[in-house]
Symmetry: C2
Subunit: 408 residues, 2 copies
């Protein structure tokens, strides 16, 4: 059973979802800063949150809903203020945001989630948020997915949304999604997403919380947890998958349709994760680090992440410098155990290091590969058959500029 | 028993050492690129090396000497070529370098060490090295310490040397030292130094290998292992402390003099480590991260290193942005366990975060502290009484420039 990707699809592609993006004044820039996604029907859900020890108030509130409730109906997402490190006051503000949306939507507050991104440590201006929530409810529309994807952006330069369609025996299922986050992006924790990233996925499939929990866990592991921009994890990361069953098609556990649904969900997460790295703060390169033939996955992962997070590698990529010494140095200090004399490294298909030494391929030839917007660094450890890959970007002058001068 | 620091002292300040720095043509820039330090008498020694899994050929050769020999007489250090990832050929080249120096000095090759820094993966041009070794032996002089400190520089902008004097009952003891390395600098491994750093310490004290081993281990732990510039560890790190006894003063185990000697050696290592961070590639800030009142040292260390290595913190410091959200985010993802509601953060003496929330001190006040060339970030976890500190620098446009365009 196959699925097709709808490139410009969004969270309102599936039946029975409305969304909105409005400008209520949280951002000094005057750009849209509050989004809402709402379902006409109660939704089952799957979710993942930051494991940062300083979890923001909205994360604490939404995580509590995830633990105690069986359904969700809406999520309010604001940019411009993270409501993190705001103490008990912040929790109360996040709850008040849910309550305000619930009152306007005529649903219980426990069915409304909240996610925030922006400056840490500043109290949420509640009058502004409440105004925004009112505006968003007014603006909710069945084609509001694009506006919502725009309203959650911070340092993102392009909105990131996509959808998929699965043709099942009983009819068509749609999955729609949006994500934000191109800085504070790092893949080091397990089974949960990180980075200042907020991702909302909607689907009109009928599917249980238990099924979604497994798919979200596996999905983030092979998508958002594989990307790194700067090695920093955020206080506010949230992924929510909402399923309202409005298609009338039920995804039975163990069915072929379930496999297709899981594959489509993973593909959507990977498309979004890829868009995040392509739009990484100041990024001029998209680099896949592929470590293969390792003794075990952990070894391959240590190697891949060390190279991906090496500031010296990242600046060399920016400079188009084939300086592979920095790649092997990163492999060497990664903490992974392997035999350095067996290591091969390739830039795309060109051999760089063979048996731990210079391949002899001219630097000018290697430099050509690094001129591409996208390239792959393949590392063969030749010690086993486990592998791991990550996607990352370079560090440019623009990265420094964005982060030396950023104030939401 | 006290010691005094001799600011412009060098490896030739102690009696019985000669040194030289020459230009043999390893660097395209035409700057000095080969140094030698030699003792008239055989020396006891203490040493530490990179734990990078891709240890360079000179590290392998010198480490083998450290394991199998009791004495050392001389070390050859070249910049411009790291002789790393050069396989069996590289080992033979490193041995040949020692042999060439030994022949000219009239001593056994097993008493000559070698250290290299520069480009990885390029075979050492042996004719050039051998010419350089000959030039260095000719140039050896009792006031050659400054020239040697200059010849080991790569991206360093200033030479780094210092000495200390201890007045003991039997006479004066001197300790002299030099270091290079302002990039590929990271503190994550234990009991060994890292970073592309090469440090040579000389002393005319009489002291045993066993005594020096303990002091070098403890000394690097509280100096070179506390600094980070870019989070990258090198293939070539080497620290050698050589003691020739020429002062006639013996440092007896357990004596007051031994304590003074250890304190002076540590102070010298800290002065050099500090110089490395001050001269960190592109650095405009020197930042001390001080984590106190932690449950244990490991927790404090995780916190300090997460903040010190955070690219978002480093770019904020460059921008003079008091954005403390990035500091707490780094503490949060560090993996350390602590109660976020008890955390206080200070910039110098100004409260930034109290009980996990904004202290209320105006941003403009906090920004003043970050305008200083040097400042301290104090983190109180309020969970115990362990602490840990690290020294780090910011990431600037110049850092990116140096590393996007660096080819020794």
């Amino acid at each position: 059973m196959n699925f097709k990707i709808i490139e410009n699809g969004s969270v309102t592609t599936p039946t029975g979802f409305k969304a909105a993006g409005v400008t209520c004044g949280l951002k000094k820039s005057g750009k849209p800063d509050l989004a809402m996604v709402a379902s006409e029907l109660p939704c089952s859900f799957g979710a993942a949150f930051t494991t940062c020890n300083f979890a923001a108030a909205p994360v604490q509130v939404s995580r509590s809903r995830a633990e105690h409730e069986k359904t969700v109906r809406a999520i309010v997402i604001n940019s411009g203020n993270a409501n993190a490190c705001t103490g008990a006051r912040g929790i109360a503000d996040a709850e008040a945001t849910c309550a305000a949306a619930a009152a306007k939507l005529g649903i219980p507050a426990r069915e409304v989630w909240v996610a925030s991104t922006g400056r840490i440590g500043v109290r949420m201006p509640m009058a502004t948020i409440e105004k925004g929530v009112g505006m968003a409810v007014e603006a909710l529309s069945a084609d509001g997915g694009i506006a919502a994807a725009e309203a959650i952006m911070t340092t993102d330069t392009v909105r990131k949304n996509v959808a998929a369609e699965i043709t099942a025996d009983g009819g068509k299922i749609h999955i729609g999604a949006m994500v934000k986050g191109v800085g504070m992006i790092d893949p080091q924790l397990r089974a949960v997403p990180h980075a200042t990233m907020i991702c909302v996925v909607t689907t009109d499939a009928g599917i249980s919380n238990t099924q979604l929990a497994g798919m979200v866990g596996a999905g983030v592991e092979d998508s958002f947890n594989r990307i790194t921009v700067d090695g920093d994890m955020s206080t506010n990361d949230t992924v929510l998958v909402m399923a309202n069953g409005a298609s009338g098609v039920n995804v039975a556990p163990g069915s072929e349709l379930e496999s297709a649904f899981a594959a489509a969900l993973l593909k959507i997460m990977q498309i979004l994760a890829r868009k995040q790295v392509m739009d990484g703060e100041g990024a001029t390169k998209f680099v896949e680090i592929d470590v293969v033939k390792a003794t075990d996955v952990e070894t391959a992962k240590l190697c891949a992440e060390a190279v991906a997070n090496s500031l010296l590698c990242k600046t060399a990529w920016f400079g188009g410098d084939p300086n592979w010494g920095r790649v092997v140095a990163a492999l060497g200090y990664s903490g992974a155990k392997f035999d350095p004399d067996k290591v091969n490294v390739f830039y795309n298909d060109k051999p760089v290091v063979i048996d731990g030494c210079d391949s002899g391929v001219a630097e000018s030839e290697l430099a050509k590969e690094l001129k591409n917007r996208e390239f792959k660094i393949l590392v063969e450890l030749n010690n086993g058959d486990a592998d791991y890959w990550v996607w990352t970007s370079d560090v440019s002058y623009e990265y420094v500029k964005i982060n030396a001068e950023y104030h939401t």
